[in-house]
Subunit: 187 residues, 2 copies
Amino acid sequence: VSLTVAVFIATSLDGFIARPDGRIDWLEAANATVPPGEDCGYAAFMASVDCLVMGRNTFEQVLQFAEWPYGDRRVIVLSSRPVSLPAPLRPTVSVSAETPAQLCRRLGAEGLRNIYVDGGKTIQGFLAAGLIDRMTITTLPILLGSGRPLFGALPADLKLTLLTSRSFPFGFVQSTYRLQAGDALPC
Amino acid sequence: VSLTVAVFIATSLDGFIARPDGRIDWLEAANATVPPGEDCGYAAFMASVDCLVMGRNTFEQVLQFAEWPYGDRRVIVLSSRPVSLPAPLRPTVSVSAETPAQLCRRLGAEGLRNIYVDGGKTIQGFLAAGLIDRMTITTLPILLGSGRPLFGALPADLKLTLLTSRSFPFGFVQSTYRLQAGDALPC
């Protein structure tokens, strides 16, 4: 029994998850071209997840949405600074200043099986710590030229194994990778 | 009759075409996992090309190879500085300080139909000028963390149309995009 740490994220072809100021208008415009009923596997992925882990930037962006999108799903916001939690979220959202490794150990000890790590800096921190097991990257058919990158610096190469790849008629390419055994630290 | 400007390049999943010092050991190691006889479409692509255009960096890297890989194919090296051409290459290789737009106009007027633009900075220059018609990107299953990026700054978003995408048992994902009509300047 061990914890699986997964990423499920959309990126521009040039590797950005948001514009320099955080806007995701290009992503919303691309999603508007997706036929009703198609979610590119998101609901199935979410159904497998015990807990979401995101950084403060992502959390504050999600708070701007018309509705909290995660329902009763447990969410942990990683932040070294205090984060103000709206009262309705307090039953399901908590804030932690743990490192990725500390958090994974705690959640594994609690018996969690699958966590979903979201947000550029948070994903980068987990990757650099060798703690991501699986990544599903959905590449959108656009070049932005600048923005907030999905990936960042690493202490060493990370070799991946491609598990599946598929493309959609609306031009998205979705590939799922496993981190190769031996790259990830036990979590 | 018009000129089609194409890119055909391999990149790490985090968008690098070489390490910071230019090394492509990771690419050579990945290519060594490709079964004999599989070239991921390279020979067919090359057969369609009238002329290669590359920057000086790429040219100087190719000169290090044991053998000049382009045979009798015409090659234009874009460089604002003089480039020393080995005598055996002088029949097929020329050097130009033209801008991407000037070069495309000249080659189009000569009746060329398909050119292949290679090298990070050269590709970035052609993309920023709206002069790329088609890109085949082969994504290798590795994260490098740093290196020479395939893509760079752009004056505006470039929307793409996905033409085809396929994956290989050795983990490469190859996607071909067309630049959307209206994005590219007439060339």
